[in-house]
Symmetry: C2
Subunit: 311 residues, 2 copies
């Protein structure tokens, strides 16, 4: 069974809202197109950065429908579908699989804490059974500092072993390099680090790229690192990585979602780019100006180019 | 505006499943009737104990429809409706309000962690606005050890002050008596401790009862404590409380949901009472026998009487 593994940087695309909190679909699609034309090899709609769990189920399905109708290639999409319940996760997963997306990215059920490996195994295996599609390509989503639920290496190994055609990969946002390295060691598993920080070390071990929040603003630079690495220019890749790391560290000194949305509001002049849904809160405009200035002055980052087409 | 405040013990009713994980609606309704006839003044469907977030949205709405159609009085129900997203929480809340239930019990959005009070205030105030019904009676659901999200006393106070007709109460499952006492001090707020352990101390300060997981098995004894207290027989209430506390401590030495379901399976002979949905796992049958024996021998608890009618 052939697998469509996306190689490069994948953006967990931000979800723009109108001032009244409704989704700005046109702006979302424009941002998606911009990212795919400016360094991103793929997109991961409905991740943590996309405020996925702050969207309603219907909103998520309609937004994916709209992307595909607008001509975004489903083969470039790894779609977040994980919710706390099996039935609703199955609904979103079936819907995404129906669009022939490259994969789905599935959080563990994230309400109950200190759940057993046996229970998590049962959740994922039951999901695979309930969706019941040969087209399902499932990526686990490991982000324990947010979800509150750990996916241990032995659990991932067991799921990969039991469902080799379906359980194809994992996004590891743990930020724990030892964990990422151990996952890379699992036979046939595609691992995307959830940040660009360990990108070169991870590519040295064979990963095809990363899924990183900051790809919403810095995809061109991240993709340059990957290109240089792929061309065997490792020293130049290391050098290009310096800007990428500095950018990331500046952004993650703030709430990453609100900070990037505020920067997009400032650079595009579209004020409602700064809107986030509760329980998140927007970054203050003044803090956004300070951050933008730091990025431009200290890093020489060009924020004068609007990161997305005017909408 | 008159308020229907339920006085007594309220059971966060367990959700029985068939062996294939489908909801056993007939058994659910039978259990609901049994509880209301045997000590419970009300029910809280779709709480943590009811595995609410492991149920699909449609399942939740259909099960509530079925309860009401079966003649369970909506005025006896405080219905859990909290999900991580505003739109889906609004859908469940409007549906429950449409049944004229006594109230809804609303978790904070529980995916993002370390969110601000401002963001949580925005979530609840926006929910109230979006539901837009004079019939909405909202109880906050504070269970930080599971949800990962704290509802501080100043936040609760502000919500109560800003929405006095709507924000009527809170279930405090923090297990922190200082917190429960501080909440009781908020003007006009109805506080239900999320356990029967501090019941007498809390009634001394004016609370109308408690919402406790173990009411699924021990409602008669808990309600006896409340009755004795209400009759001014405080010494007898304290004495009756000893069995109630001992029972609770025995149960909570195990995973509370799986343990009670296993006990119901053993006492009714209906084996699939023990079924829980992933990510929870059933309590081993042998552990259930040990627990049942301890409850009978050490506490003199009568488990020979099926706790629910045969179904």
């Amino acid at each position: 069974m052939s697998q469509n593994i996306i190689r490069g940087v994948i953006a967990p695309i931000l979800t723009p809202f109108h001032a009244d909190l409704a989704i700005n679909t046109a702006r979302y699609i424009a941002h998606a197109r911009h990212l795919l034309s400016n360094g991103c090899a793929g997109l991961a709609p409905f991740g943590t950065t996309g405020e996925a769990v702050s969207l309603g189920m219907d909103e998520r399905m309609k937004l994916l429908d709209a992307m595909v109708e607008a001509g975004i290639d489903p083969a470039s999409l790894i779609v977040g579908t994980g919710l706390p319940s099996l039935p609703d996760t199955a609904i979103l997963t079936r819907h995404a699989v129906g669009h022939s997306v490259a994969g789905v990215l599935v959080l563990p059920p994230f309400y109950y804490k200190r759940v057993s490996e046996e229970g998590l195994y049962a959740h994922y295996s039951r999901l695979i059974e309930d969706v019941g599609s040969d087209g399902l390509r499932l990526y686990l989503y490991h982000i324990p500092q947010v979800s509150g639920v750990d996916l241990s290496v032995p659990l991932v190994e067991k799921l990969r072993r039991m469902f080799p055609a379906t359980l194809v990969g994992i996004k590891d946002s743990s930020g724990d390099w030892d964990n990422t390295r151990a996952l890379i060691g699992i036979d046939g598993l595609t691992v995307y680090p959830g940040s660009e920080l360990p990108l070169i070390e991870a590519m040295d071990l064979g990963v095809p790229g990363c899924i990183s929040a900051t790809a919403n603003l810095n995809a061109a630079a991240i993709s340059k690192v990957i290109r240089l690495f792929d061309e065997g220019k490792k020293d130049e890749a290391q050098q290009a990585m310096e800007q990428v790391k500095a950018f990331r560290l500046k952004i993650q000194a703030h709430p990453v979602i609100a900070a990037q949305k505020r920067l997009l509001a400032l650079t595009t002049g579209k004020h409602d780019w700064a809107v986030v849904r509760p329980p998140l809160v927007p970054l203050e405009e003044s803090a956004g100006h300070v951050l933008a200035s730091e990025l431009m002055v200290e890093l020489g980052f060009d924020l004068s180019e609007p990161a997305v087409p005017a909408q």
